[in-house]
């Protein structure tokens, strides 16, 4: 018996090793023939595809360098990475996230791929042989960031007159493209201004993030109120940086001080007439999703819900039953358990599949009483 196992092991070893050896024997030297971009221009942060052609390059490691072309002066490396050819070894397509070390100028990027051996066909250059030789990257400075104030609110909205009150201010802003924002502003500063445009509160400068589009400037401010009246506050953002970006000011939030503002005189009114009874109609919006208007509609929705849930659960249970049976061996407890699961899944499924049938069944039984 042991001899049989050894023979089997040897047979398996031969079956595995022979193709491996033959693939090594067949391996000719890899030759790169071409490298090219697949598009002409891109923005920073885009994914762009490039394509490398080669011969006999199955699973070969290729070193790819992205160069930035500075006609006249020496070119600079933008990125370097190693990629591996697929098993077929003829064409390799992959993508690269565009980066530019100098985001304020135009850049022409080209690719150089090389393999770690000497001789011809070991290096290809997209600026020489590529069908699309250069990838043009526009400077980010040409792109204007849009900043919106998503939230500016103050609590409390009524404060007592002639004393200091703590105002809790929620101030949030969102940038459409963080990368364009950071290219122009190194920092961003938040202010709270009153109706006359005076800065009531100034917050420390926050650094601009290259990735996070959301900014939060929440703060507490002790505001000393004057006499009764209304003061309107607004949130204002300013850009700290080399380039000027006009950042928005929020719409105004009125805060009532004391009894509020406004004085006036008026004539004494005529005596009022007694009121009459009026009807007022109102509707409550249906907040249930799917707008069910009757109990049957609601049951329909619940049935649909159960149905959607039941199918994957049933599949899972049947698989579990199968697994129990598989691993049962000669253990009758598991066999019984697997069989029971199968039976009850089938019964449960039948009930859920019938769902609407039950409604019409009950209805038809009830209608029997009317005959």
């Amino acid at each position: 018996m042991r001899r049989h196992i050894i023979y089997l092991a040897i047979a398996i070893a031969i079956i595995w090793i022979v193709p491996m050896l033959s693939s090594y024997a067949n391996a000719a030297t890899c030759q790169l023939t071409n490298i090219t971009w697949t598009q002409e221009s891109a923005k920073i942060g885009d994914l762009v595809k490039y394509k490398i052609d080669g011969k006999n390059c199955s699973l070969e490691k290729v070193h790819v360098v992205v160069w930035s072309d500075h006609s006249g002066s020496s070119d600079t490396r933008e990125a370097e990475f190693d990629v591996y050819f697929p098993r077929e070894g003829a064409v390799f397509i992959s993508d690269w996230r565009v980066a530019n070390s100098n985001p304020f100028t135009n850049a022409s990027l080209y690719l150089v791929a090389s393999i770690n051996s000497s001789g011809s066909g070991t290096s290809v250059d997209s600026s020489k042989t590529g069908t699309i030789k250069y990838l043009k990257v526009a400077p980010v400075i040409d792109q204007n960031p849009t900043v919106t104030i998503t939230d500016f609110s103050i609590t409390p909205i009524t404060i007592p007159a002639n004393e200091a009150t703590r105002l809790k201010v929620t101030f949030k802003a969102k940038v459409d493209s963080p990368l364009y924002f950071i290219a122009r502003c190194s920092g961003v500063q938040a202010f709270m201004i009153d109706g006359a445009g005076n800065k009531v509160y100034t917050q420390a400068i926050k650094p601009v993030s290259a990735t996070n589009p959301n900014y939060s400037f929440d703060f507490n401010h002790d505001y000393t109120a004057g006499g009764d009246g209304v003061v309107a506050f607004r949130g204002k953002l300013e850009c700290i940086g080399s380039a000027i970006v006009v950042l928005p000011t929020s719409s105004s939030v009125p805060i009532t001080i004391g009894k509020g503002g406004g004085t006036g005189t008026g004539n004494t009114g005529a005596p009022g007439t007694p009121g009459t009874t009026q009807n007022y109609q109102f509707t409550v919006p249906n907040w249930l999703k799917g707008q069910p208007s009757s109990l049957t509609d609601l049951l329909d929705i619940i049935a649909k819900w159960l149905f959607n849930l039941a199918i994957p659960v049933a599949v899972g249970l049947i698989i579990w039953a199968g697994v129990l049976l598989m691993t049962a061996g000669a253990n009758p407890a598991n066999v019984k358990k697997g069989g029971a699961i199968l039976k009850w899944v089938a019964i449960g499924l039948a009930i859920i599949f019938i769902n609407k049938g039950f409604i019409s069944l009950i209805r038809s039984v009830l209608e029997l009483g009317n005959k």
Binding site: M1, P312, L325, M326, T327, G329, A330, F353
Partner: protein, 126 residues
Amino acid sequence: MSLEINSKMKNFKRFAYIIGALIPFIALAEDMPEYDLTIQNIFAIINGLVCWAARMSYLLMIVMLVYSGVMFFLSNGEPAKVTKAREGLKWVAIGIAVVLATYTIIATVANAVGVPDVSRFLPLHC
């Protein structure tokens, strides 16, 4: 194959270990993107878990087949062990049939109670 997992205390301990291992990830949660979890996502999550379980069971099929083969090897021709191995193989075969016939079982039940269009929800999109 018979692991002692019946004791509730042991189960609880295992759960505690898993949670303990996850604690570093809880600290990372601040950097994670926000997801809008709707009821539809729950369907998709269950669906994904079931797909995962299906793949695992396909793996288990092969493992169990090999295991029962090994049992035949090790029986060394002793009648008692051969019977045991044969019994094991029988149930492995039945288990495989059940796992592979999952959708057939559901479709059969659906057909029996008169659901018109089974292809609307079967098979699951994995």
